[in-house]
């Protein structure tokens, strides 16, 4: 079961809240200080991508972030609740046509490149409910 779950309306400002929460909970879960920057950045990337998808396809639905304390890992799952679409995963960070003004980055794939370069372990899955990005980092175990 997720220890902490955050859901938020798909707005760039809330990506900051998501980063803040993920970093605080990771620290509390015993993730090494030296890895917290990576957690902050990777979670931000995954949430930015989900916000972008939602703004395009389902702006009324919240984006979901689940943080779990495992025995010796800290796991993060970011889920968008938009119906799957084959172009979606490769479209990360791509200039989005409809939002125009700038939520999206300009180069396709940059967001995933960052995630892949940072998370110790990444799994992307497409389900009927949407896309889920699951990442994890080693932790010192539950410290409470």
């Amino acid at each position: 079961m997720a220890t902490v779950e955050l859901s938020f309306t798909p707005l760039p400002a809330h990506v900051r809240t998501a980063r803040l929460v993920a970093t605080a909970v990771a620290r509390r879960s015993g993730v090494d200080e030296s890895l917290l920057d990576e957690v902050r950045l990777a979670v931000g990337e995954a949430c930015s991508r989900a916000v972008e998808e939602h703004q395009l396809h389902c702006p009324a639905e919240p984006v979901r972030l689940a943080l779990s304390d495992m025995a010796d890992r800290f796991e993060v799952e970011v889920t968008d609740n938009c119906a799957p679409d084959s172009a979606k995963v490769t479209g990360v960070g791509q200039e989005s046509k409809s939002t125009g003004a700038g939520v999206a980055a300009m180069e396709p794939g940059l967001g995933f490149a960052v995630i892949a370069g940072l998370a110790d372990n990444v799994e992307i899955s497409e389900t009927a409910a949407g896309t889920s990005i699951r990442m994890s980092w080693p932790s010192a175990g539950v410290v409470r």
Binding site: R16, D37, A104, L110, A113, V114
Partner: protein, 116 residues
């Protein structure tokens, strides 16, 4: 911390000082500034990232977009950055090969002038 943007001319090159977090929330402002500079015919840019605390792929995308815009006018966009945590993001995305990255603004200017 939010994003703070400033710019000034030095030796005919426009220096953009960026401070704070360049992320999905603030990157649009940096994008607007770069577009505005190019529209005002500043085609030689140096973006000073020494005070950047956080950079995500949206920020990277805006920098790449700026580079494309100045190049369309035979211009340049160089970066100043010595912070390991920021450099790492350029490295894992392969962008260290795309941008000239320098240790100081003066070095960036010198490198650019010697190329001309």
């Amino acid at each position: 911390m939010d994003l703070k943007l400033d710019h000034h001319s030095k030796d005919g090159i426009e220096i953009v000082d960026v401070e704070g977090e360049i992320d999905v929330y603030t990157a649009p402002r940096l994008r607007e500034l770069l577009i505005e500079l190019v529209n005002s015919r500043y085609y030689q840019l140096v973006v000073n990232m020494e005070k950047v605390e956080f950079l995500d792929s949206t920020g990277l995308g805006v920098l790449v977009g700026g580079l494309k815009r100045v190049r369309a006018h035979d211009g340049s966009l160089d970066l100043v950055c010595t912070q390991e945590r920021i450099l790492k993001i350029f490295r894992i995305t392969g962008l260290t090969k795309v941008f000239g990255i320098h240790d100081t603004v003066d070095e960036a200017i010198a490198a650019r002038r010697s190329e001309k």
